[in-house]
Symmetry: C3
Subunit: 165 residues, 3 copies
Amino acid sequence: MQTLELKAPYLQKRNKLVIVCSKGSLDMAYPPLMLATSGAAMGMEVHLYFTFWGINMLRKDTVQSLKVSPVGNPAMPMPNILGMIPGMTRLATRMMKGKMDKMKMPTIQEMIKTAHDAGVHFHACSPSMQIMNLSKDDLIPEVDDIIGATTYLDLASEDAITLFI
Amino acid sequence: MQTLELKAPYLQKRNKLVIVCSKGSLDMAYPPLMLATSGAAMGMEVHLYFTFWGINMLRKDTVQSLKVSPVGNPAMPMPNILGMIPGMTRLATRMMKGKMDKMKMPTIQEMIKTAHDAGVHFHACSPSMQIMNLSKDDLIPEVDDIIGATTYLDLASEDAITLFI
Amino acid sequence: MQTLELKAPYLQKRNKLVIVCSKGSLDMAYPPLMLATSGAAMGMEVHLYFTFWGINMLRKDTVQSLKVSPVGNPAMPMPNILGMIPGMTRLATRMMKGKMDKMKMPTIQEMIKTAHDAGVHFHACSPSMQIMNLSKDDLIPEVDDIIGATTYLDLASEDAITLFI
């Protein structure tokens, strides 16, 4: 009798990570970059697809000034009325940046560079670019290309870990 | 010697997209609908599961009046103190709608209709309906059914691209 | 002629659910716990990975006082200017808690206990713990361990349903 041993590729772990980055705030810029860098270090193929407010992470004129909002986030230990005072967004942002700095956490720009050097792919969403009236020249050099939802879905469909942040 | 050629369905691309829609703001209403429409056009089976604030996208009385908040979103180029002024939510919303209009972007209602006509399935979350004290009559006609978390997870478990928006 | 019947594990449904919990507000604390409990009841292996503001769901000193923000959420039927009035976050939170109570919905703490008893795994993100200057003693007893992004990605790569909330 013949015995057939089948290698089972479907039991292999997925080695692809495809994340939609839709937020333009400092606190929600860290998670996709941290996951992307970790994934790349594990040998995964990693794609970040920036859409809507997420485009701000790729704009030359905004990537350095991403902010944390002190209002509308009940997890922040600050009453909304205080968060309204002019300068409070700056204060909350400086506090978070200070903490990150003290922990020797890299800035968003540094993390983008590290991720890019590790092979993470940076894709900007084309309809978002149109709405914001931007061209590729407005984006940081780490951006690989400008793609639409169809290309994103194609990447996601190849057995990737998918997240929308 | 016998050679066995195996067709490898596990290497096929996933052709199912299952998105949880949990936000009730205008800006976060677009991404799931754009992805759903693109997915359907690619021949994917697409399911949208509306829960929590996302139910507002399905309510007859709110779908036309989804708003963008000018506060609590540091990606918006407006200081919180200005966003507080009565009428500013309306202004921010009108600005976004104006931009969408200029780009010939369809409204949320139009996108829902297009997605539905393309075969996208619309599911409302039953516990959310109960909390909001709503019945199926309160929802737009494109809603297919009211389902619970178990049915959603069952859909998601069939090798779908899964996202929580 | 020989007929070969292959059992097809790759056509089986996925039975693993891995959710990132990144929000610290009351409204966004419910969805992951409801999905986790439903998944566990269906026999799924469920992992919750708490990061950033999500750590507040695990802190002894904050889990009882998660709040809903009345500002920055245009789905809330309250103008931003009203939401600014001191006490309004408390009011919005009390309203939501009242509704949950009336529907006999368990509190977040009760849901965490139920999920834990059903076998759901609770993981705290180590960099987030460092940023917040917390140790395991600051966390509720249901927390299994403190893990990093690599361990999370490893869990997610085992053909899990993945969500970022």
